[in-house]
């Protein structure tokens, strides 16, 4: 399913004043990087794509996903996965619970548990399903967060400076893990960062905001 994520003059405004406007095509299986100084509206663009523009701002323009304009859909029907700098695992659920939450509903219980198990072993976390997420290391949490979003079978992936909180060694490791998974699944991926190394590693087109 080679769908692209296309933004057509997506404009975020506060009242009548436009803050940022962008047009781009994030091709399937490619990491497109959005760079710009803080305050350039990177986060607002991501919020517009996920359908969570904060009060006082509003977005106009089209967001096309596989030819369908999703700009008018409520956020939860858009199937846009997002990863942040913080892992944001739900602290009240076990590791397995966090993963199962993203699975589409339905299917037998054992089948769902099997998918969770396989997802964990895919990132080298076998047997951690019952663990409290607070007891994991930073790298482990990042991997669980990645698997949680992938299990929900998103149609596109957004990365909001997702490696900022990791130290440099872990950073390149998690970065290539995330990029490889996104590419392997043919997801159109939009990376927001201010780190040139991230953009370089992404290897896709780079769009600069000012």
């Amino acid at each position: 399913m080679a769908e692209s994520l296309i933004l057509k003059t997506l404009t975020i405004s506060a009242g009548a004043t436009p803050i940022v406007s962008v047009s781009l095509t994030a091709a399937a299986g490619e990491i497109t990087t959005l760079m710009g100084p803080s305050g350039s509206g990177k986060s607002s663009i991501l919020a517009a794509i996920t359908g969570t523009v904060p009060d006082g701002l509003f977005a106009t323009g089209d967001i096309l996903l596989g030819g369908q304009n999703i700009a008018t859909l409520p956020g939860w029907k858009r199937h846009i996965g997002i990863l942040y700098q913080d892992d944001l695992l739900f602290p009240h659920l076990s590791v397995g619970g966090n993963l199962a939450l993203g699975l589409a509903p339905g299917g037998r219980r054992t089948e769902r548990q099997g998918r969770v198990k396989r997802a964990l072993s895919e990132v080298g976390l076998e047997g951690l399903a019952a663990r409290d997420p607070a007891t994991l290391s930073g790298g482990q949490k990042a991997r669980v967060a990645l698997m949680r979003v992938l299990l929900s079978e998103p149609r596109a992936l957004l990365l909001d400076e997702p490696f900022g909180s990791l130290d440099s060694e872990l950073r390149s490791q998690i970065r290539s893990l995330v990029f490889n998974h996104a590419k392997a699944r043919g997801l159109p991926t939009l990376l927001v960062t201010h780190d040139p190394q991230d953009a370089e590693a992404a290897g896709g087109p780079v769009i600069r905001l000012r």
Binding site: A47, T50, G51, T52, P74, G75, W76, K77, R78, H79, I80, G81, I82, Y84, D86, L88, F90, P91, H92, L101, G102, A104, D132, P133, A134, T135, R148, V149, S152, P154, L158
Partner: protein, 557 residues
Amino acid sequence: MTLSPSHLFFWLTVLILGGPVLAGLTGVVAGAMGHVPGLQNAIPAGDVWGAVWSWPGIGRSVTLSFWTGLLAALISLASATLIMAGWSGTLSFARARHWLAPFLAVPHAAAAFGIAVLIAPSGWIARALSPWLSGWERPPDLLILGDPLGLAMVIGLIVKELPFLLLMMIAALPQAKAATSMAVVTALGYGCARGWLLAVFPEIYRQIRLPVYAVLAYSMSAVDAALILGPTTPPPIAIVILRWAADPDLSLRALASAGALVQLGLVLVALVLWRLGEIAVAQLGRSLAESGQRGSGRAAEIAAATLVATSGIFLIAGFAVLALWSVAGAWHFPAFLPETLSFHVWASHGAALVETGAATLLLAVAVVALALALALGSLEAKPHRCLLTALVYLPLIVPQVTFLPGLQAASLKIGLGSGALPVGLMHLVFVLPYLLLVLADPFNALDPRYRTIAAGLGLSPARQFWRLRLPLLLTPIAGAVAVGMAVSIGQYLPTLLAGGGRLPTLTTEALALAAGGDRRVIGAYGLAQAAAALAPFALALALPRRVWRNRQGMLHG
């Protein structure tokens, strides 16, 4: 826009917060003009007001309410401010703040009973000093309880309002950026207390203004503390209104309505005076700040410690004495401890206590369950946040005694009568605001990115609420439920007026017994009342620890 369940809850909340107050005030105005439901003919308005103003002692009732209310509010605010100035930011303060909520939970009536058995001429303080210091062999002939100046009542009000204001100030600290401000003024060479007063307090006060107004209005119109500790000849105006409203002679209901308007006017005048005082104090503070004078503020720290200790000891010692009385056999003055023990009171009142206690708790659970659904629904909807903020304080600032008589008339008119349903609805009016106040901050403090992630995972808003927001907020919700239960259990006036005496709760029973003056029975009921209000707090502390025992992120987050 489609009407989602949360929007429905929001508008229901608006209706519950605003409706009864407005309906009640309308009823009060009609009553003051002589229109009383159940009376064949309207009484001429002139006669109503003539009867009010010629009521024996009415002038002194009015002045008494006015100045005791102002005094209690002033001392409560000053004490809370001093405590914050001298104590906030220290480690011991961080530990002690957890003890504030239970203090807040103790019903006004129970706290007032505790104070009464402490400060009465035959109370524990007099016993402790007799006869070795005072020389008293029998209780001194002093009018301490119900003193004509209302000072005992003022003490009772302060002991309860102080923890409320402290909690409100603590809640306001993060938004006031207190820590940053303190770092700046300390670097400029100001002592802790003075720096806090000049730099942090103005910002805090801006946020707690409405709670302060609620304290002022409450202090001027409180019924339970006045019944137990207040003067009787003449009593405060709120008690006069209550007697009129509860009198079988329906024509006195018109006087109750007129009296309610007098009370409302009194509160409005006091609020205007208070506002002028705010402006004067702000002016003074600015010139003090600009003078650049430094000072250690050591005095404030000592005063803070003294205040905390005194009010804490008052409440705790009060309950100790209530407990002693409930099991006292012979206990003559000036013995410090009972001479013999007896469980007679618990044996003879035990069954009634359990029955009334069960009814009280059942009512509280039903009311809080409904209020919780409404509060969470409204916070989910979160449109018109300003409307909600204003309305939350409406039932707290407009004194109960000014709109309940009108509401009583209105509910009789529409055939609601009296009993469990109207009592429950009345409790809802006062429980719902507290739930909204307690839950709003934790609700808005949830990381908004959780919402985005959950939506990205394809969770519908309903599933996001049930699977994520509800469990994530379990700890504050348990705390809010405990506060709501305490509020419901402590309600006196609404229970009395809407229940028509047919739904006795621990609070109405305790106050009915207060007139009898049997300290052993009062001790048992005061304790039962406090225990009923405190038990939910113990549960609220224990439940999250149990549920989240394997989830570190939920216990420390």
